[in-house]
Symmetry: C2
Amino acid sequence: MDNVRLGIAGMGVMGEMHAAYLRKGDVKRVELTAVCDSDQSRLANYSDIKTFADTADMVRSGEIDALLIATPHYSHTTLGIDALEQGLHVLVEKPISVHKADCERLIAAHTNPKQVFAAMFNMRTGPAFQKIKMLVDEGHLGEIVRTNWTATHWFRPEAYYASGGWRATWKGEGGGVLLNQCPHQLDLFIWLFGMPSRVHGFCGFGARHNIEVEDQVTAYLEYPNGATGVFIAGTGEAPGTNRLEVAADAGKVVYENDRLTFTRNEVPTSTFTKTSKKMFSRPDFWNVEIPVGGVGGQHAEITQNFVDAILDGVPLTAPAEEGIKSVELANAIIYSELKGKPVDLPLDGAEYEAELQRLIDESPRS
Amino acid sequence: MDNVRLGIAGMGVMGEMHAAYLRKGDVKRVELTAVCDSDQSRLANYSDIKTFADTADMVRSGEIDALLIATPHYSHTTLGIDALEQGLHVLVEKPISVHKADCERLIAAHTNPKQVFAAMFNMRTGPAFQKIKMLVDEGHLGEIVRTNWTATHWFRPEAYYASGGWRATWKGEGGGVLLNQCPHQLDLFIWLFGMPSRVHGFCGFGARHNIEVEDQVTAYLEYPNGATGVFIAGTGEAPGTNRLEVAADAGKVVYENDRLTFTRNEVPTSTFTKTSKKMFSRPDFWNVEIPVGGVGGQHAEITQNFVDAILDGVPLTAPAEEGIKSVELANAIIYSELKGKPVDLPLDGAEYEAELQRLIDESPRS
């Protein structure tokens, strides 16, 4: 194969965006050969390629080698399983599914290692996150002591929630800010610092809007190495905050307002604390500024990586299998609030699915 | 009375510091007439004034009208009660006591409104905190939505804890970073934003040092108006963070690195969210920088205010009665961790005192 023939399922905001950069030629060795949406009006601009009303038909049409899934979240599971079973390569938008059990079903369908299965975690291509990943993976930070991400920059007015009856409902989205707005931050948080072992979740359901799902969240996280973490999210604050802070043995990293700073200790804290003889001493440090211009390749880079993985076998930036983690963490935060107690990971996916079903069944908005 | 005759109990680091600015004349209409310490060597520099080995003797000597208590924390209660009962005006270092029940005993001894009873919360005089107080009290912020103070700038090496057997023990200090390093931050947090109604405390006891008390703390706070808060403290991080952030209806205030910024919404969030017709709109805002040069009058200003209250009846910047709040919050955070569940305020002071006594009884360091 010299070129990958790609189809997009779901021509809403995200599907259109993907089609636009593909048609501009931003991704090499790929051809957009088909698009699909149950709403015919969304297909009007694609008369030069094949169009479908049903994804199952597109998957079986012989027109595509690979499928990009950009449909509403709940359908990712069924569409993804079908496409994998039909032998296609699959690139799925975030979140890969709405709850952990669905993620497991979807991932279980990926049995052939020759099929490439990736997730659209485009923010992993951001220069700042690439640099933080390098700092962690190459040991520049040493052991992590504390993580903190405040992601309350997702303000939404009531008009947003009023724009679709499915929005911000248990049935329509399976959650609020954690499932819709924050999957990228949750993915990055885990990609960079690993999974916590215990989650204390505190959610306000409709705390700042007339909705039934969480729009105000604080989670306290415990990690296997004794590190602690806080994740804060919400759609009710303006202007809100987007600030990632990591305290580690070698110093502190802060990413905020497009600036990445590393306050680097000359001596690791763990060494200094044992060797210093002075009561009120502390390690000397350097103020390091790490340039992180631009936003990186984003969606086009992830799609290019997907294509390169199909054609050349290069490693994936964001394997779909990793997409279960951010969903599991989101589920665990909500579950902890619902149960009024901490949740140990791994989360019991079946238990959470039953709880979510109860919320759907009891909701007047279902 | 034209001048207040002041005595200081406890001539350690803090007592010496108070004596120094008093002798320099930084406080008007006060005279340092006596000092007291059980360690005679600490009195050598004060041969020009009366010196005592026992505070009870100084209190009854007729040499002082007012007492400044700068002794180890546990003794604040007994010394304060005695001085109040003997009719003296009292200024007590922070924390006013180690646990809530002791605070109540101390405050109960203040029955005569003509006696001035103040606490050394000198950080209330800081220009940044004065400005934030003004922003809150004058309504510039509107309703508070979320508070966050990360106070992990209190790094201490092992040498600090090894310097005194009483340090960082339940018996010697009644706690760790919350009782020794953070009383000012806790006081300011409450002074500015009020008491939470529920506290979820997560403490690591000796997480980063060879000590038995808390040196790593995260607390999740719920306020009566539905606001949420996070307070993070520790002595194990270097360089650590000292950052106060407040999200409110009118915008966001951040105080960090001696800069006070107010991101002010042109329209309050609560109005905008209801009136905006656009799905992805958010309030326009102004970036406001509030000058906060210098550190304010600090200890000398609090002592001057104490003297002025005695002589002229001016209102106190920090009435001792308010000192119970930061102790109660510190106690509640520790108690929540010990019990593994949230603590509703007000805290039961007797219950906590019994718990603290159990910790003391069971400690090998007592």
